[in-house]
Symmetry: C2
Subunit: 390 residues, 2 copies
């Protein structure tokens, strides 16, 4: 018996641009980006979230006008419109539509597929782009708070399978991300606020100063103050990028610290048939796992209360029936097993030891989760804490 050994490294690099009115003729962001790319003739195919196209009736025309002035790249005239939200990930039909477009329009490996939309649409289009010809260049143009500060800027793509989130997908970085704050103007208050949950999450596990900033700017964020949201998105994106670029970008290990609060969040989304948004579910998960961190003796109670207060200030519903763990048969507890199965290996859950500080456990004590859930419910119901609830 003998063997040969293969070993190599692959370098990945991309930029996340922050801009206003990306497709305004005078905006040089996209023009500059394409001018800096290798000069061969390439194509760009756009796939647009239907909700975004409807909220921005001039968008398709603006894209066409903008690309008429960019010489080194040819816009595919037919722009593909796909439904927004999880429906685009739940039905493989939309993924197949993108693959067929690559076939019909002769999109090659040096050409681009640009997706404009919320996180779900970016996930689905990104997956199709990364497997077509084993990888067409993908450009992400996220249009929600959540996708601009978190899901749209990372390296994950995927679609659902039989209701299981991201059951098939790839780790594959985009060629570039363009965050345009104008897309946020047409979001509903609910969607706008929803995306703030990931900022709270990343602040809680990584950056106390950012958590304090969120406390101080909660009112401005509720009032949709543009500069505050610009700062939030950029800081949150930066913290996510730093983490992804760290030790394990393609998640070969079992730990996933960025998924603080997510084991229950994924399950809540599914239990609600995706009526609860990802951000809303994450807010619920943060409340639950922060309370659990307190009950475990890791997080001081006054700090837990600051977390719950912030969630309340931003009007997050953290006692929705789907998150409530009334007994050991509560369906959300199945989320622990599914979370472990998706990551593989040992169960690894991130908890808080302080605001901005995390640690991992390999076990969640179910009766303590029941208590944590009761604690959150009591907090919201009474807005005062009595030792009975512990």
């Amino acid at each position: 018996m003998s063997h040969l050994e293969q070993s190599f490294s692959v370098r990945f690099q991309y930029k996340i641009f922050f801009t206003t009115s990306l497709f305004k003729r005078s905006n040089p962001t996209l023009l500059n980006f394409f001018s800096e790319q290798p000069s061969e003739v390439r194509k760009i195919l756009f796939v647009v979230d239907q909700q975004v196209a409807e909220a921005h009736p001039n968008l398709l025309e603006d894209i066409e006008t903008y690309f008429n002035q960019i010489k080194p790249i040819n816009l595919v005239k037919d722009i593909l419109i796909v439904p927004g939200g999880e429906v685009s990930k739940n039905d493989v039909y939309y993924f197949n539509q993108v693959i067929e477009a690559v076939n019909v329009y002769g999109i090659d490996r040096h050409s681009y597929i640009a997706a404009i939309g919320g996180g779900a649409v970016l996930d689905m289009v990104g997956y199709a782009a990364t497997v077509a010809h084993r990888g067409v260049k993908q450009i992400r143009i996220p249009t929600t708070v959540l996708s601009q500060n978190d899901s749209g800027i990372g390296v994950k793509n995927g679609i659902n399978y039989k209701g299981k989130k991201n059951f098939v997908g790839t780790f594959s970085p985009p060629a570039a991300v363009f965050n345009d704050n104008q897309f946020l103007l047409t979001l509903s208050d609910r969607d706008y606020r929803s995306g703030i949950a990931e900022a709270i999450k990343v602040a809680l596990i990584k950056d106390y100063d950012f958590f304090v900033w969120l406390e101080n700017n909660a009112d401005a964020l509720v009032k949709r103050h543009v500069e505050s949201m610009d700062y939030l998105i950029k800081r949150c994106a930066q913290l996510h990028l730093e983490h992804i670029g760290g030790a394990d970008p393609f998640e070969t290990g079992s730990a996933r610290p960025l998924d603080f609060g997510h084991w229950s969040a994924h399950k809540i989304e599914q239990l609600s048939d995706f009526a609860i948004t990802h951000g809303e579910a994450v807010a619920m998960g943060i409340a639950l796992d922060s309370a659990y961190s307190f009950l475990l003796g890791w997080l001081r109670e006054d700090k837990l209360l600051r977390v719950l207060n912030l969630l309340k200030q931003l009007s997050f519903d953290i006692i929705n029936s789907h998150i409530q763990i009334n007994d050991l048969a509560s369906p959300v507890l199945i989320g622990l097993t599914e979370f472990q199965e998706h990551l593989g290996g040992k169960l690894t859950i991130t908890l808080l030891t302080d605001l901005g500080q995390k640690a991992e456990v390999n076990e969640m004590i179910h009766p303590m989760l029941v208590k944590a859930s009761h604690y959150v419910t009591a907090y919201v119901r009474d807005c005062l804490i009595t030792s009975d609830n512990k």
Copy 2:
């Protein structure tokens, strides 16, 4: 306008083991491999090429017996059988079968999917493994000369789409490759010989000494001398690995030097409805592009004749009707466009400047391809060369 920049490297590493009777109880290769892996409980799902299962009636039982003695890993009792050859890549049904098995048997990201079969089955199973949960560990056990020395040991996975080869797929290295020379014993002479084409190819572009070795051992290879084939596979695998581990493992550029002779080979396979094997088509492509290299003034005629002689010694049919370019309307010429489209960017074709030396061109002169085709035909028909044929 401002931006953030993301940048990171990912290291990939795997071993290619060479062994005899991998599933014999006394063979420690697999046992040692799994003993060296992290010790969490994991599963392994086998997917086996139907032709291989039929040629080795004890295989499934041997696998079961073998894994009974390996503590750190649990064999999934149901072994999936899929058809061998391109049919497994042409119909997405088989890909879906593997995804469903991952779902049903709870294969997580730290578990393994092992594929036993020819290159097509490894490509298909590898693709399913690399997208399930964004990447389950894949083990490749190639059973043909071609897959043991080339396609099975690299980083490419994929299936066909509407007849277009590898239209969807990934670049994703396996966890390990196990080359067992016992699988070669049951191959037909045709399949056995077919895989030698890739060895000739890699020798021609990279290693003159290996080419000379092939000339000197052609008879032994025809007689299926085991040690000769062992050497051929290992040396060929090594040359392929060195190339893949080089500058551009995931092929972000337009060049693909390992694809010497392949632009026509891909098309010939398709034109013959895959009745011509990949190796046979590559042999035809090598003959054509070597003759073209000569006509271009790059390769000396005596050296071209050594290439054609070697192909003849190994009984390759290099004047099949599908490779013949009688005029500018010959269908194989469409292969140039399709090759360019799949790779993207400029057309980049590898040719020979000497035995063991390559160079690239960005254009293939169609009338010269007609001449090259005629040259090969005349060589085979007459086995003597007259200047009229040039």
